[in-house]
Symmetry: C2
Subunit: 116 residues, 2 copies
């Protein structure tokens, strides 16, 4: 029960939902991309990503100076369904469209697909 509670608590924050929605769309995103897309302070983003990581919802991997985050796999089916529903719900918001637009026009976007 506490596992489920922690999972839904991790989903109950606008910054975290917006990060998850971008990860769902992009596959992998680094912290500076999220910082730029959401127009939020970097420590704020980092701490919310830590919350998602501790809840087991995302995985991070280092690639050069960047840390790339993506939605975790291998969760229980109901948890995957919950995350998918959260992403769909978050994508309904106009905030999400703005985030996507800002990410698209981000200058000096870190290179993608360097390492598998």
């Amino acid at each position: 029960m506490e596992y489920a509670v922690n999972l839904f608590a991790a989903l109950s924050d606008p910054i975290r939902l917006r990060c998850l929605a971008l990860m769902a769309k992009e596959g992998e995103v680094c912290v500076c991309e999220l910082t730029h897309a959401l127009q939020a302070a970097q420590p704020k983003i980092s701490k919310h990503l830590a919350t998602l990581r501790e809840a087991g919802l995302v995985t991070d991997r280092r690639d050069a100076q960047w840390v790339l985050y993506s939605i975790a796999t291998g969760l229980p089916q109901w948890a995957q369904d919950a995350v998918a529903a959260a992403v769909r719900g978050a994508s309904d918001s106009p905030l999400y469209a703005d985030d996507v637009a800002r990410l698209k026009e981000m200058p000096a976007r870190p290179p993608k697909g360097r390492v598998a």
Copy 2:
């Protein structure tokens, strides 16, 4: 976005998840049944049910001296999926089995199906 945040916040409490799981199983349950099944104080249950009601996740209807709660219908599809996932996640817990057992053996259980 705030709508989604409120929904997941409503799902991030053990009492509320257990109530939802029992509603999913029973269809409708009254406050005294939840109080008995969860072995929690009545004001505590009532306040958590108010939280669920304000989040739009449950509907209540009065039947004589009882107020019967059930999972709301007509939510956006992603929200229904989220609730269904929450119920499945909550049902994984041994707490849920205990709640079901206590409800089954509850003495003087209020009559069901009196009004449609």
